[in-house]
């Protein structure tokens, strides 16, 4: 493809910010230095123009996160841009808006994923986005007063949350309500297939879904507020365990650890990195097992064999993790600069246990392949349903197995290496199908790769001859400064943390980029026109965790 122009700013030694600034000549008001990349300050009414220029000319095709925050003198929206081809090439767009008139242009025309991110910014911080297709509250009830993450929010003010019987919240909002042959149906928030407390406002025509509007926020536990109230060194670490709570805890902890460590410039000893890598991959296996189990649950019916087998296998791995971390589910194992403690004694025996469980694991996976992927009835149900084309996936910021199931070769463990991953021998699994089957298949194969990583980590740990240093020196109170956005490959995809530190021991702004939040957004595209049963299966294959979606 010689006709394709070289994206602006791409050089062999990384990103040339000057070239980008030149490209955006006239738009850039100021250039700031964030710890992960440079940030361009632009005017609130140039957002769409700048985003589309960057996407078309400079190949920034991944809007990872929109952070909104309030300063004493202004509001600020930050658009964190990345590239699917190389996520180390990052650029932030800072859009300040005055306090008395917090209006900013919406980026929803350029990136679909901005729709939800900007709704969240409006909901929690109170910035209004002009030309936004559907700007209303997303996490909090419609009747909520005030914006809880704004500076002058009074938490003790009473709030009223009404619930009306037989109310049709879609009335007047959906474009199909007038048709008399459709039926509005609330799927959730209490429904056996919504994987928690998701609420799907669905309009069905017979058995087909005509319109669907995921309503989230039923598990909005103020995780960002909690982290902003807590100190870097000790108090934040337990919370990440509770974002993606399907025993993916260490993966989440790592997201925070990575951001905070780069913020406070803390090194992690190699031995601790190996321990982190091993425990994180065990967590990934656990999380994917649950994803497969619940996906089977959605397709098979009640608590049937595959689900039970998956939970049994999870128990095996949870036992390993429990021995290592002391906890079954909420591990709280990572610390800034290392891990809480080393391998349980006797070390050789523990490593032998891990090795034997991992040695059996391919056989167990074979059973899932027998029961699921090679089952003709299963194939009949999931092949070519819920198809997510790669372009749509990128526009919605889908990551993780959902993106890889659509053929997007994107895995932060390889593309933006951290931990001990680049020393190990493993592969990124992708599948071009883009349907429910591909996503399930990618998860199954990823577990195989994770088991491979764990086996190699065990070998490294068993042969370790040097100092077993599990933690570097970290000051008792960490008081960093600056702004950073860092992401790791969580169980569901790119799990990023944005921290703005203001020199105190707690973050001034702590923003979580939840992969499940972006992935769930694709449901509207995937489910419309499908049968109810396929919509449920699609939801299962997206593998959302409401704790992470709502935070």
């Amino acid at each position: 493809m010689s006709l394709q122009r070289q994206p602006v700013g791409e050089t062999p030694d990384g990103l040339d910010y000057d070239a980008l600034a030149e490209l955006l000549d006239g738009y850039v008001l100021d250039r700031e230095q964030h710890l992960n990349c440079e940030a361009f300050v632009i005017r609130p009414d140039d957002v769409a123009a700048v985003l589309s220029t960057l996407r078309d000319r400079a190949a920034f095709d991944h809007l990872s996160l929109v952070t909104a925050q309030e300063y004493r003198d202004r509001y600020e929206s930050i658009y964190h841009l990345k590239k699917y081809d190389d996520p180390t090439q990052e650029l932030s767009l800072v859009v300040p808006t005055p306090r008395d008139q917090p209006h900013s242009q919406s980026g929803a025309d350029v990136f679909d994923t901005a729709i939800w991110h900007e709704r969240e910014a409006y909901d929690l911080v109170g910035i209004e986005y002009d030309d936004h297709p559907d700007l209303r509250r997303i996490l909090l009830p419609e009747t909520w007063q005030g914006h809880p993450l704004s500076l002058d929010y009074n938490q003790d003010k009473p709030q009223i949350v009404p619930l009306r019987e037989h109310a049709n919240p879609m009335e007047g909002r959906t474009d199909v309500a007038d048709r008399s042959d459709t039926m509005f149906i609330n799927i959730g928030p209490h429904h056996p297939a919504t994987h928690g407390v998701l609420h799907l406002k669905t309009v069905v025509d017979g058995e087909q879904v005509v319109d669907i509007d995921p309503d989230i926020g039923y598990l909005h536990r103020c995780e960002e507020q909690m982290c902003q109230q807590s100190t870097y060194r000790h108090q934040i670490m337990p919370y990440p365990d509770r974002w993606d709570y399907v025993s993916a805890g260490i993966l989440n902890e790592w997201a925070y650890a990575r951001a905070a460590e780069s913020l406070a410039d803390i090194d992690v000893p190699v031995y601790a990195q190996v321990l982190r890598t091993m425990s994180a991959e065990l967590c990934r296996i656990c999380a994917h097992l649950l994803a497969i189990g619940t996906f089977a649950l959605d397709i098979y019916g009640e608590f049937t064999a595959i689900f039970m087998y998956a939970v049994t296998d999870r128990e095996r791995i949870q036992n390993l993790l429990e021995e290592l971390t002391g906890q079954r589910l909420m591990f709280n194992y990572l610390r800034l600069g290392g891990v809480a403690w080393g391998l349980p004694e006797p070390r050789a025996e523990y490593l032998e246990t891990v090795r034997s469980v991992m040695a059996e694991f391919p056989d167990r996976l074979e059973e899932y392949h027998n029961l699921l992927t090679s089952n003709e009835l299963f194939q009949m149900r999931v092949l070519d349903t819920g198809v997510l084309p790669a372009e749509t996936a990128k526009s919605y910021g889908a990551t993780g197995p959902v993106a890889r199931g659509s053929g997007i070769d994107y895995d932060l463990r390889r593309d933006d290496p951290y931990g001990y991953y680049d020393e190990l021998d493993w592969e990124v699994v992708t599948d071009d199908g883009g349907d429910n089957f591909s996503r399930a298949l990618v998860r199954l194969q990823e577990m195989e790769q994770s088991a491979r990583i764990v086996r190699q980590c065990v070998d490294v740990l068993a042969d370790w001859s040097g100092e077993r240093e599990i933690q570097s020196d970290v000051p008792r109170t960490v008081k960093p400064g600056g702004e950073v956005y860092r992401a790791v490959e969580g169980a569901k995809g790119e799990l990023g943390i944005y921290i703005r530190a203001d020199g105190t021991d707690t973050p001034a702004r702590f923003k979580i980029r939840s992969p499940a939040f972006s992935n769930l957004q694709t449901l509207e595209v995937l489910a419309e026109g499908e049968y109810i049963a396929d919509m449920i299966a699609t939801l299962g294959s997206l593998d959302i965790v409401l704790g992470e979606v709502d935070r």
């Binding site: 056996p192 089977a296 098979y300 049937t304 009835l377 149900r381 049963a533 449920i536």
Partner: protein
């Protein structure tokens, strides 16, 4: 000889009154017998079987293998509060569970269970069974729409679509059996199958229709699974899609009736299969009634096995399988049987 006649003969007096008493007594015996089976299956056997498939133990607190759970489960379910949803279409809502249970129970009247446990033996037995069992569709749609619940409504509609699609193949396959036996009478059908098909030394293979025409047997099995609404055809209930389908709004006694009704239907499906394909109560050594029980429980086990191991198909796929494949195969089977029977007769 049917059960009422046996009882009537045992009575000291005769006449119409004795006949009525005998009929009532016999009906009670058979009704209780069937309900006992389902009571055992619903709260206990189903759990134990599912547990076995999922490496669990399941209930084990009272009685051997925890069978004692049947008592607290039954009493507790019946003693729950009966909630009538606002806007329920009352007579229909109340009648639906009864229709579901009795449509299946009535059909048992003509099933010969061996050892003289046979309520009635009309000349049109097989037609009666299919006709009565089909009334269940009516119960399902009543339960679905009268609940004033959208999930129930969807479930009811699915159930009707499914039952219509699978009843026709079911009956067509039934007709092929009738062609073979030349009679609609249940006792006649069973008697025909008792004849020896081939003798292999000391072993004589009976002329069970499942052995004579395994093709029809397999077709009937599939159609029957759909008819009783079990995996892979459990779309009317589909717990992860439409909560509990047509039974979503039912609680207490009505729920018990619907729940038991489902199991009675499973057993009825088993009983029909046993009667027209597996020689009814026929079998060596053990008494007929035991063989009959073994056969219907085997069919129950079969449905539970499917439930644990097979995914649920989508509603459109289900309808497609029914109308486009099963129906065609049922006709093929019918014509093939007709030809073979005709050639043999000639």
């Amino acid at each position: 000889m049917t059960l009422p006649t046996t009882i009537e003969e045992a009575l000291p007096v005769g006449g119409v009154a004795a006949e009525a008493v005998a009929a009532l007594a016999a009906a009670t015996v058979i009704g209780t017998f069937v309900m006992l089976n389902t009571a055992l299956a619903g709260p206990w056997a189903k759990r134990k079987i599912t547990a076995a498939f999922t490496d669990r133990i399941s209930v084990n607190q009272f009685g051997p293998l925890g069978v004692g759970i049947v008592v607290p489960d039954a009493v507790r379910l019946v003693s729950k509060e009966l909630i009538v949803p606002e806007g329920a279409d009352r007579p229909a809502w109340d009648l639906a569970p009864l229709v579901l249970v009795f449509s299946a129970l009535f059909a048992f009247a003509v099933i010969p269970m061996g050892n003289g446990v046979h309520l009635a033996d009309p000349a049109v037995g097989l037609v009666f069974v299919f006709a009565i069992a089909s009334v269940a569709s009516l119960g399902l749609v009543m339960a679905g729409y009268a609940s004033n619940n959208k999930y129930a409504f969807l479930g009811g509609l699915r159930a009707v679509a499914q039952n219509l699609a699978y009843e026709i193949p079911l009956i067509l396959i039934g007709i092929s059996v009738v062609l073979y036996t030349g009679s609609l009478q249940m006792s006649e059908i069973v008697a025909t199958q008792r004849e020896t098909l081939v003798s292999l030394g000391p072993l004589s293979v009976p002329g069970w229709f499942a052995i004579v025409n395994p093709f029809a047997f397999v077709l009937f099995l599939v159609a029957n699974v759909a008819e009783v609404g079990r995996n892979p055809f459990d779309v009317p209930e589909a717990p992860t899609e439409i909560v509990a389908g047509y039974q979503t709004e039912y609680s207490s006694v009505y729920f018990v009736l619907i729940y038991l009704g489902e199991f009675v239907h499973i057993f009825l499906g088993g009983a029909i299969i046993a009667t027209i394909f597996l020689g009814g109560p026929a079998g060596p050594v053990l008494p007929g009634i035991v063989w009959f029980l073994l056969k219907i429980w085997a069919m129950f086990l079969f449905t539970q096995w499917l439930r644990s191991a097979v995914p649920r198909v989508r509603i459109d796929q289900l309808i497609e399988i029914g109308w486009k494949r099963l129906l065609v195969l049922a006709f093929v089977n019918l014509f093939a049987t007709a030809t073979v029977v005709g050639v043999l007769a000639a």
